[in-house]
């Protein structure tokens, strides 16, 4: 089937099986194998992408689900100002994810910061899809809170200048 979608800012028309997982579409059809993992649904959490701004496990998203949607991988997200907020949060908390889960964790942090979630239980629940054990829970919560703070400050500055 033919699927129209936007991946990393590029509008694409892909001809593929309707049930092909998004992770494999990214690896095989767009050649994005450096960032996205594919664990066949084993919930490693390392294949996270943003679909319309919400963090999702791309190995669990079939092709037909992305029709007309915007997919953002870490490759394009890393260049945005939103990523700068997350980097600031990492620095102020003094804890960084490992190389393996850096991309996925950052995208989930972005999703949580974007939605403004501050409830620790909910933050940890969302982050529990990443099985990589490199960060402790308190740091994860603090990163989200610091990220929300940084985002809010940036938005306020933008409003003032506008």
């Amino acid at each position: 089937m033919k699927i129209d979608c936007t991946i990393d800012g590029k509008t694409l028309t892909l001809s593929l099986n309707s049930d092909k997982p998004l992770s494999l579409i990214l690896r095989e059809n767009t050649g994005d194998d450096a960032v996205v993992n594919h664990c066949n649904g084993a919930m490693c959490g390392l294949c996270t992408v943003l679909v319309d701004g919400k963090a999702m496990l791309s190995c669990m998203v079939p092709a037909f689900e992305i029709r007309g949607k915007t997919v953002t991988t870490f490759d394009s997200f890393r260049k945005t100002k939103n990523m700068k907020d997350i980097e600031k949060a990492y620095e102020s908390v003094g804890s960084f994810p490992c190389q393996d889960c850096y991309a996925s964790r950052s995208l989930i942090f972005e999703s949580l910061i974007d939605e403004g979630i501050t409830d620790p239980e909910e933050i940890l629940k969302e982050l529990s899809i990443i099985k990589c054990p490199c960060m402790d829970p308190e740091d994860e919560i603090n990163i989200v809170l610091k990220g929300i703070e940084a985002r809010r400050k940036r938005n306020v500055r933008r409003t003032q200048f506008a």
Binding site: A34, N37, H38, C44, D100, P137
Partner: protein
């Protein structure tokens, strides 16, 4: 680094692997469907050259031929125009196996390594108190769910391989042996990777050999993908100690048995590293240590970032806490009574000053209120009905080591070359081209010694046919040992450039500092770990970790702290611990400013965390929690049987 050739995926063959479902079996039938020209199946007999990978003199088949030695061994590879077609066709392939009557050939194993000093005495007259302890780690064997790809393609006479790899030379050698393609024409392009358990040491070389064979046979670029595999060996350490009336250990016997799986890689080095860990830090009149390597039809063990030292160090720390229990005091106070100012000089670890370790221990003990908690838990243990108090706290203290032993360093010819050019630049020919952050630090350190203020004038040569083999990036040797080698070479070159005609080159062994004993102690640390077993669910969780580390020099404090935190977290999770919301790692890192070898952070932190965790679990659950990793179900079962 040369860029990857921009070929279309439509002109490529995509490969997947068929893995064995069980070990110690014989392939009775491998039935393939009719494959058209678009497909290629590769079995053990289809490789034009030798079907084996060699690592430090030990070999393992690339693809199982008749006998399957271990579960998950590669039985065949199937290449197709795309992965979906390959997977669909793989379903048509029938593999029939039957159990082997005899144990399959597992390769040669080394004799037990024995070391000791003093005359051992028997406890014939009941003069001594006899204590026996046992520490065991069960095998952890699983796929790490991280998919990676290895690509091979031809360009003129050159065979290009793109892979994540901890040892580029191993890929080139394995591809040369498997395909007969000259090593000079094999060019490896490194992909970025994080090898938490050294999983990119052996497997990428195997996949590269298979992909290169497919490229030669089809004439098309070939890509193969697979998940990394992590296998921690099963370890058992039994100790027997004779203590005098003052509860001081006098004679000690240690037997360590390690099951490295179907094929042992560098088993002699494992024995040496493990021996450095099992020698206790306290004085003894007599000591006998034995390290025995055994094999079983399971996945060959990874280096796991330590190659035996961490596990052995954890076993020693576990043992010291059991002695403290027998003496009726806290492990911290007990160590104060038995340890001297310096530890004994042995063939494996030097007689270094224990003051640094004591400082680390005092720091974590006071931060965690260790003595109070340990005593409280011990008193409460008996008062809480059938299940006990289910809370525990443990401590471990030790020194770090890094890189290979002196014996292995002498045997291997890993080297690099530094040249001062006519344009007043410095070039380095090495295969140890690693993380950009590390290379930035190297450039800065070298430029300070030869061309002050010009770090851009220091250049690492692109990988090519003449690249020198600096050895594998394992046991933190590239970051630690190699950094010092570069420093030393830079100092010598700074002198040579003034006296010799330019260009002047200096070839140096990557491991040319031969120590009087096998390893040099580098860095100290102490870790306290507190655990709690939930009374209803029996889920073991860690409530807090306190760590104090002292290193000779710190290149990047933030990376070091992150690395320590990651290693601690990974070790806890790997061993079945639940991490509650309130969990926190309290770290204290100090630098003593000396120019000594930089320690392997992962090795030290892993060993100490494992030791502290074993001690804490032992206090919480007693002998019932006898092995790590442990799950809630196993604790429940142990209590049911124990009660």
């Amino acid at each position: 680094m040369a860029n990857r050739k921009n070929f279309s995926r439509y002109n490529m063959r995509c490969g997947i692997l068929l893995h064995a479902k069980a070990g110690a079996e014989r392939i009775s039938e491998l039935k393939l469907p009719d494959l058209d020209a678009r497909y290629l199946a590769l079995t053990g007999s289809d490789l034009p050259g030798s079907n084996e990978i060699e690592f430090f003199g030990r070999t393992m088949p690339l693809i199982a031929k008749e006998t399957i030695s271990f579960q998950d061994q590669i039985v065949m590879a199937l290449f197709a125009p795309d992965y979906e077609s390959a997977m669909l066709m793989m379903r048509e392939i029938e593999l029939k196996t039957e159990p082997l009557e005899e144990t399959p050939e597992m390769g040669t194993l080394p004799d037990s390594l024995e070391y000791g000093w003093g005359e051992m005495e028997e406890n014939a007259e009941g003069k001594y108190k006899e204590i026996e302890t046992s520490f065991s780690l069960t095998r952890i064997s699983r796929r790490n769910k991280r998919l990676y790809t290895v690509t091979a393609w031809m360009e003129g006479l050159n065979m290009h391989i793109e892979a994540p790899s901890q040892w580029v030379e191993l890929i080139r050698e394995t591809v040369e042996k498997a395909t007969g393609y000259p090593k000079r024409n094999i060019i490896v392009h490194l992909l970025p990777y994080t090898a938490k358990h050294d999983e990119f040491l052996i497997e990428p070389a195997i996949l590269a050999a298979i992909a290169a064979t497919a490229t030669i046979k089809t004439g098309l670029p070939s890509e193969i993908r697979d998940e990394g595999y992590f296998s921690r060996p099963a370890v058992n350490v039994r100790r027997k100690v004779l203590m005098d009336e003052d509860t001081k250990p006098v004679f000690e016997t240690v037997d360590m048995t390690v099951d490295q799986g179907a094929f042992a890689f560098a088993p002699e080095e494992y024995q040496r590293q493990a021996m450095a860990g099992i020698i206790p830090p306290y004085p003894l009149k007599g000591f006998r240590g034995t390290i025995k390597i055994i094999s079983s039809p399971s996945h060959p063990a990874s280096f796991c970032g330590s190659l035996g030292y961490s596990e052995a160090l954890a076993a020693t720390e576990y043992h010291i806490s059991r002695l403290a229990e027998a003496a009726g005091t806290t492990p911290n106070l007990y160590r104060m009574t038995i340890e001297k100012e310096k530890r004994k000089f042995t063939d494996y670890i030097p007689g270094y000053d224990l003051d640094g370790q004591k400082k680390c221990r005092v720091s974590v003990v006071s931060a965690s209120s260790f003595d109070r908690k340990w005593s409280a838990n011990t008193f409460q243990k008996e008062e809480f009905g059938l299940l006990g108090y289910l809370k525990g706290i443990g401590i471990a203290t030790g020194a770090g080591i890094a890189g290979f032993s002196t014996t292995l360093s002498k045997e291997t010819g890993f080297s690099a070359m530094m040249t001062f050019t006519q344009k007043q630049n410095v070039t380095i020919n090495t295969s140890a081209v690693t993380h950009p952050g590390t290379m930035k630090i190297w450039k800065k350190r070298i430029s300070e010694k030869i061309i002050p203020g010009r770090p851009d004038g220091v250049m690492f040569l692109e990988p090519g046919p003449d690249t020198m083999d600096t050895g594998p990036d394992v046991l933190a040797r590239i970051v630690s040992s190699f950094t010092l080698q570069l420093d030393s070479a830079a100092k010598r070159l700074a002198v040579l450039k003034e006296t010799e005609k330019l260009p002047v080159s200096l070839r140096f062994d990557a491991e040319n500092t031969y120590y009087p004993c096998e390893f040099e102690n580098t860095g100290n640390g102490a870790v306290v770990c507190e655990v709690k077993i939930d009374k209803a669910t029996m889920i073991p969780s860690v409530t807090g970790v306190w760590g104090s580390f002292a290193f000779p020099s710190i290149m990047d404090r933030s990376s070091l702290e992150n690395s320590l935190r990651r290693t601690i977290m990974m070790t806890l999770r790997e061993n079945g611990m639940d991490i509650p919301l309130s969990f926190r790692i309290h770290l204290d890192i100090t630098e003593d400013g000396t120019d000594d070898t930089i320690s392997s952070v992962q090795q030290l932190a892993r060993g100490l965390t494992l030791g502290a965790l074993s001690n804490a679990m032992h206090q919480a659950a007693g002998d019932l929690a006898s092995s790590l990793p442990i799950s809630a179900a196993e604790i429940n079962e142990a209590f049911r049987e124990g009660v």
